[in-house]
Symmetry: C2
Subunit: 498 residues, 2 copies
Amino acid sequence: MEVKEALERLDALQKKMYAYQCAASSLYLDSVTVAPKNTAQGRGVALGILAGEEHKLFADPEVGKLLDFLEERSGELTFPQRRQVEELSRRWKQMSRIPTDEYMEYAQLTNEASDVWHKAKEQSDFASFRPVLEKLVAFNRKFAGYYDPDKAPYDALLNEYERGVDMAYLDKFFAAVRDKLVPVIRAIGEKEQPDDSFLYRYYPAQGQRKLSDYLMEVLDLDRGHCGIGETEHPFTLNFNNQDVRITTNYDEHNVASSMYSVIHEGGHARYELNIRDDIQYTCLAGGVSMGVHESQSRFYENLIGRSLPFIRAVFPKLQELFPEQLEGVNAEQFYRAVNKAQPSLIRIEADELTYCLHIMVRYEIEKQLIGGTLEVKDVPETWNRLYKEYLGVDVPDDAHGCLQDSHWSGGSFGYFPSYALGSAYGAQMLRNMEGEMDVWGPVSRGDLSQVSAWLKDKVHQYGGLLTPAQVVENACGPFDPTVYTDYLVKKYSELYQL
Amino acid sequence: MEVKEALERLDALQKKMYAYQCAASSLYLDSVTVAPKNTAQGRGVALGILAGEEHKLFADPEVGKLLDFLEERSGELTFPQRRQVEELSRRWKQMSRIPTDEYMEYAQLTNEASDVWHKAKEQSDFASFRPVLEKLVAFNRKFAGYYDPDKAPYDALLNEYERGVDMAYLDKFFAAVRDKLVPVIRAIGEKEQPDDSFLYRYYPAQGQRKLSDYLMEVLDLDRGHCGIGETEHPFTLNFNNQDVRITTNYDEHNVASSMYSVIHEGGHARYELNIRDDIQYTCLAGGVSMGVHESQSRFYENLIGRSLPFIRAVFPKLQELFPEQLEGVNAEQFYRAVNKAQPSLIRIEADELTYCLHIMVRYEIEKQLIGGTLEVKDVPETWNRLYKEYLGVDVPDDAHGCLQDSHWSGGSFGYFPSYALGSAYGAQMLRNMEGEMDVWGPVSRGDLSQVSAWLKDKVHQYGGLLTPAQVVENACGPFDPTVYTDYLVKKYSELYQL
């Protein structure tokens, strides 16, 4: 076999995997948007089979040989080709350990679980979700062994979301974050809170939809390539760098909820849309890791979106859309309201400062669940206990507790820490961005084009060409979480005059 | 190989094909509902590959051997198994003649064509659609040869939509229909037309959405298994008998447009939802032919939906939703308005009487296009000439002419005659239904459950278990188009007092 022919085969293989992923994404998107409620069964049959076909295609021993062949000739490959071979080899070793049957069964299970979780959350009924969650945990513990038999199961899962990250690393990271932030949170507890009641007036969905349109414009998201839909739980889905979808959820009694969802998901979308053309339809298309992805979404949401210059820029539009609701409110008051730091129940509505504590609850529970020291039946109790311990709040029911997030129902264990890591990466990126250019002048005029250009140049374009650590280092030097904690301490000390 | 093992393989094969069809359907549904405009390219790559995989899977010589093996042992098979083998053998012979490359290229082309057609229609710009249409015609002429090399190309295509139907058959059928209906249409031309101006008042989409909800309830379409969406061109899409979607399009200045679209597509949906469980995920799931499918949609739309008893039943709801628009209008006036017979430009808005003439225009053009006696560039001129000749109307532009339908852009040539055949099948079904039970009593009370039960029993449940001709014969004896023409002549003679 010639290298040229091998590369053509590699290319064809990756295009096929892209096609299977498109199919699964499309069926998933349908299932959470317009699909009638009682249709999960037939979709599960299809998803299971497609996953099985994809698995058989990729886990084929011939693919292993092809990858070995190319690895041995890596000197003849371009850098993107080498990275594809490297990444595919890693995945092939994992996948070829998973029996096709199990892979298909798991795909069917996650489809079914999504449905069960939705209903369980609606009725705050953990008992109905429990059997499915038990299966999901069991699968993930088993898959962890396939991913990396030498690692502790949860470490193996963490490594899937952020290459190189493990419990030892996160324990240290979270401890440092906790040490720095808990005193600030305590100090704020003694202070008077700003009035944020105007955020919770009646904001009709129709007006909020217009706000979404406006925000997508501000984020420079081309609607010809980026759609917006409505789902229970906001998310971003990418087919390729020409086709990305975000979703949001309109709470008519909370204008900040969808506003910051759109900016958050818009950040994910910006990343995907900015990835280079020459790696489309390969395993390197798409953001490199969940940590880096969340660094981008939370960069837009918090570092930009919850900054005073940004709020000054968009506030006139908010007032235009909601003149009565925001009567007598000014940009500074809005800024204080959306930055009110207060321990609360719902992660996606949490402020920047207490957000990490929400993640730590989930991290602790996942660590024990996957480690085998916590049973699924005890999740609600543990959840509620940890919320009391970390955040000081009483969880009234599971809908506002351990059923609030979709991640576990989608089979994602080890994802949550990415949010915290991403927040920390983002703070460091901002520090470097500020060193290199005038960030806040254009932002205060509602112009994010330079911010976006910097991120495209330093982060987005690479997709999976660089590893997560390389992306972070490339953008802002070796990772240093104190930049993040310093940023938060400074921001909240000013806000609350500590 | 044992028969048991062969049947398991057959079952697995059909489930895989179901999965590929789900994937393609989902991507298609997305493309015409929420997908951003400029995303056809990446979706085309995926659709092309999925079609290729499906084709390779099915056209495999091993599948041919499997089918031969089972055909030889058909004595050991159940009736549904025998029918599966029969149907798959027929398709396998066709598919194995189509090279995978061509099959993939065609799947990509139809995805792209849909996009091009939408834009061309929007701008009434046939020139921009022409190159794609030329390719589509060329592919269909070639594929016709693969389907059945012994038939004239258009006959081979017609046979795909309605087994056993060809040009000789349709020429006779259409001639008979024309002979009976044209004199009636002429006679009506001399008569005074009923006032239908109230149909074209302003009917906000929001109210029309509520009307759709109500009509779906009347048709007993369980929303947990049947969704409704909005698209340029209404259609029905079935994943399986638990998951069907219909779409409609709201014209705010024509209340009858979406109303009858919903009833029409609802008829398709009723068919799909009523198909037996034991043939799901096989090649026999889904309606047996386009002709039989259209017989059901047009049964609900016209025979029931445009009947006086039905309109009497639903009119109070219409008045409740649109009190101002329908002030001073009664059910009888509404009945006359939605049955106004008048040659017009748009097929899907045509009345029952002139509808067939719209089909004949398309039939003539397809016959010549696929036969090779008409060039694509001459389609608009021929279209306009035939509309003048058959319907006496002047086509103002291609958007209201040869660009109005989506069928050709989806690669469907030979589909249109199904509408006419279906209408005729339906009339015969109604005659027999009337002979066996009280149809109009329950309908006049808005109760369609008995109509639906009859159709389920005689037609729907079988899916592809019987051939189209068998379904028709099973429901109402040998096909006799004069029942249809007699029905129309009687209905319109009464309406217009001829």
